[in-house]
């Protein structure tokens, strides 16, 4: 049990550092057991320093920095055992455009390398512009959902004119 957890920690921590660097365009981050002598019962702390900033506990980072760091951890675990599908519900909500751009590049790359199909729910214009196709969910009848195919070019156009 303990061996497997430490082995998983090794892989996930390594993925985490690489993904953090890729999503932030630099910087470093790592995971650390709160009690090294008893990992099976310990907690997991997250330390991160975005590019040019001091290393701090996750709790001291900005809202967007925290979200991007937590996403790096989720993907780090995902990469240790990748699935043929990955569904992401509004994970880009607190991110600015520069971070959304790097997030999109990462999922594009994961999709190509792993052949994983991504379903990405978003309100972000930039993400809508980076996907291969768009589905729109609407409620033409109150309380009843309907799925429609959306023309990618037209969707970004409509949004731009708001």
């Amino acid at each position: 049990g303990r061996q497997r957890l430490l082995a998983a920690y090794g892989i996930v921590n390594e993925n985490f550092q690489k993904l953090f660097f890729q999503l932030f365009g630099g910087g470093k981050a790592y995971l650390k057991f709160t009690d090294e002598s008893d990992p099976l019962e310990a907690g997991l702390d997250i330390f991160a320093s975005p590019p040019g900033k001091k290393l701090q506990n996750l709790s001291l980072l900005s809202g967007g920095e925290q979200a991007l760091t937590a996403l790096s951890l989720l993907f780090a675990v995902f990469l240790s055992n990748p699935a043929p599908i990955c569904v992401l519900d509004e994970v880009d909500a607190p991110l600015d455009d520069t971070n959304v751009d790097r997030f999109c590049s990462l999922v594009e790359e994961m999709s190509k390398t792993l052949s994983t199909k991504f379903l990405i729910i978003t309100h972000h214009r930039m993400t809508m512009a980076r996907v291969n196709r768009l589905f729109g969910v609407t409620m033409p009848e109150q309380g009843v959902s309907q799925l429609v195919s959306v023309d990618l070019e037209k969707a970004v156009q409509l949004k731009e004119n708001e």
Binding site: V12, I121, G136, V144, S145
Partner: protein, 168 residues
């Protein structure tokens, strides 16, 4: 195993039979607040064998069944199906006999759920095994629900360790 389609009817706001074709690369899902996008994510977790109503924003499992509008009566059954491609024949032995694997879960109001693979009734355990074998499942990191990133940030260090246990 590849995921080809999600089909649902009577599931939350998707009362009408709906098909989501899942193609290569990145597929975006957009729409106004409350139109049903997160309900699609919960449909995936439901058919993969999610047993906790709280994980699908309900207080009981029956809360996923279409509960009616001012113009339509409630339904008494919800059904979600995933169409899988098994041409590489890597599925667990029990299901490895065909190129296509169709996993369906139905829930009847007040009567519980039933699971079928290619029409034949199976146990919940078999469905969970099938998806776990494909490195996915209701609680896996391949299903990132709307609150999950925030939950990791707010989690106590002990709760975060369980993420590692998924990878172990």
């Amino acid at each position: 195993i590849k995921f080809n389609k999600l089909k649902l009817k009577g599931f939350k706001s998707f009362v009408e039979p709906t098909e989501v074709v899942i193609e290569q690369g990145l597929t975006g899902i957009v729409g106004p607040n409350g139109c049903g996008k997160s309900n699609l994510v919960e449909a995936f977790r439901f058919v993969m064998g999610e047993l906790s109503p709280k994980q699908m924003r309900g207080s009981e499992l029956d809360d996923v069944i279409f509960n009616g509008t001012s113009d339509r009566p409630a339904w008494d059954i919800a059904e979600v199906t995933i169409d899988l491609d098994n041409k590489d024949r890597k599925a667990p032995g029990l299901f490895n006999q065909s190129d296509e694997i169709e996993v369906t879960r139905r829930i009847w109001r007040g009567e519980g759920s039933e699971y079928r693979v290619n029409g034949k009734e199976v146990r919940l355990k078999d469905v969970q095994l099938l998806f776990a074998d494909a490195a996915t499942g209701a609680r896996s990191t391949s299903m990132v629900s709307q609150g999950r990133v925030g939950a990791i940030i707010a989690a106590k260090p002990e709760q975060r360790r369980t993420l590692l246990e998924e990878a172990a």
